[in-house]
Symmetry: C2
Subunit: 346 residues, 2 copies
């Protein structure tokens, strides 16, 4: 990447679970950086973070932070993005936003590079990163969509606690220790930090991620439903989701039933998945090989297995899709978008 | 229950996870017992188990063990049932078998009392208890089946390790301690004791329960598919299952999509579920109330929540079904059957 244009890059939410991964990826991917600005809430300002051979001091994010910044990656919560991203964009910064703030905004492209990279052309300063559980599903289904079309998706998720941030990881590990010691568990954060009722996550499964809407679905479920249609640019896909938190640290797993629009041969389906960018087919039942959250943790790819023809609907498939929710589900997808932006401007 | 006939009862597999629960239930339900015989493998024979005010010594199960026994409850593995249940039945013992040995045998009724208690009339000495994951699902869906008919079920499970026995519980707790201590995990039992490849269950989700068949489904998944049709006495129900083990000790959870044959009103659906025998409706999203494995553990009922109309198919519902897999999923369903047998012969 020598001799290419270098960029002033800002990471907003630099001390959070996703921000940490973004910084690590910018480093390991050798992103063409001129100046790196690490931003956070005033509370975390002053923290020093190592980046390559130097230390960068985290600054409090303000409207002025983005002067001269070419690319900003936001993962500091929806409110911060809503306040600062439009200001940064107005000043010429390309903002890649990992929150839900702009995902369904018709003027904001919602991008999974393996699926709809062309959509970034239409950005008006802000590009949205989809929800973690959506990204891995559409990445895995895209090759099948292109070849056969998709009429229906019914997904049940098995989501890691890291999707709720570092404090939820701490809570789950703390609760696990308490249960193993025979002590009472005092839930404090999950399922939803801002809601009054808390449930034990250790050795449990909680069928609530984010708040409930009047239709009985949660926000997380509606994100999967609505974002899938937007990313695929196909409002006709029928999506149903049930989103469940389980005691896993890193890696979302998904049980997916997908109904295609055409007949298919299993051999071709498996080849299409295996050949798709960013996808690893891990599917050998006889060797008991299939994707596992513990294997996917720390990896950039999305892993697909348990691929089998439905026994009732010959146009339907069942499969198991796993990816690291902080990487492909968040930081890596955002850095991939940044790499495309950089590539275009070089 | 005074003055009623008392029965000679045998529990085969008395020292196992399910056997222990059966003994506890016979005690707390005050089952009309004349003599209680506790049977096991030769290895566990000699163990003393308290039953009411006396101690019962566990004996090695042999063909001769069933002389004079009226009712025998088997949960010592399929091989033991295959060998001993037909002999016991030939000698006049009514065998309630908790293994998969006779479930799909056309001459053996497969019974969930809330669903098809009348089927016990046709028994020829053996009555089969369905698979744990099947029992709670059909119990919850029965009121909807009766009112609207069911055309399709797509289920993804979140199954507790106790379904694989006491040693799997020990393994999961041991692995959890190792992970929390930062030590390596050495999987030894799960996903399937008799197969060569082992996977970590602590802080993970394993999409394999039981062995794989050539169609890509596991035995556990095919049990849910085939047993549902047999219990409902309706081969036309299309069932698809993905069965997943998660790090929970007691209580299977299930994400169920069900397509009914008729239009429905949500109010009636909720009332039918709430009024169904053995079912508790726990469904108040605004209060963040829904079934949880940790709440269901130790309880006899099946809990249903997250009931919502599908957004794409107006004849379909999504719901979350949870029950203690060792109780309604095994021991309690078997004891319920025994109570019906006793009731008929009194």
């Amino acid at each position: 990447m020598s001799n290419q244009k270098k960029f002033n890059v800002a990471v907003v939410g630099a001390t959070g679970a996703v921000g940490e991964q973004i910084i690590r990826l910018l480093e390991t991917r050798d992103f063409p950086i001129n100046e790196l600005k690490l931003l956070s809430s005033p509370r975390s300002a002053g923290t020093k973070i190592k980046f390559k051979d130097k230390e960068v001091t985290v600054e409090a994010a303000t409207a002025q932070s983005f002067e001269g910044v070419d690319i900003a990656l936001f993962s500091a919560g929806g409110d911060v993005s809503k306040e600062l991203a439009p200001l940064a964009a107005a000043g010429g910064t390309v903002c890649i936003d990992n929150t839900s703030a702009f995902r369904m905004d018709p003027n904001t492209p919602l991008v999974v590079p393996e699926v709809n990279i062309d959509a970034i052309q239409e950005h008006k300063g802000i590009i949205a990163n989809p929800n973690c559980s959506t990204i891995q599903m559409v990445a895995a289904l895209k090759p099948l969509y292109d070849r056969y079309g998709i009429s229906k998706i019914i997904v049940s998720t098995y989501q890691a606690v890291s999707g709720s941030g570092s404090k939820a990881i701490d809570e789950m590990l703390r609760q696990s220790r308490e249960v193993l010691a025979g002590n009472p568990v005092n839930p404090d954060i999950l399922p939803v930090g801002s809601l009054p009722v808390k449930h034990q996550i250790a050795f449990n499964a909680i069928p609530q991620i984010d708040k409930f809407l009047d239709n009985g679905f949660t926000n997380e479920e509606m994100k999967m439903i609505n974002e899938t249609k937007k990313i695929m640019q196909d409002e006709s896909i029928q999506v149903t989701a049930t989103c469940v938190r389980i005691p896993v640290v890193y890696g979302h797993s998904e049980s997916v039933y997908v109904e295609l629009k055409e007949d298919f041969e299993m051999e071709e389906v498996l080849r299409l998945i295996a050949d798709a960018p960013g996808i690893v087919l891990q599917d050998n039942p006889q060797e008991q090989q299939y994707p596992l959250a513990t294997d996917a943790a720390g990896k950039l790819e999305t892993f697909v297995g348990r691929v089998r023809r439905d026994l009732n609907n010959t146009r339907a498939l069942n499969m198991w899709i796993v990816s690291d929710n902080l990487l492909k589900g968040a930081a890596w997808n955002a850095v991939q978008i940044a790499e495309h932006i950089a590539q275009e401007q070089k």
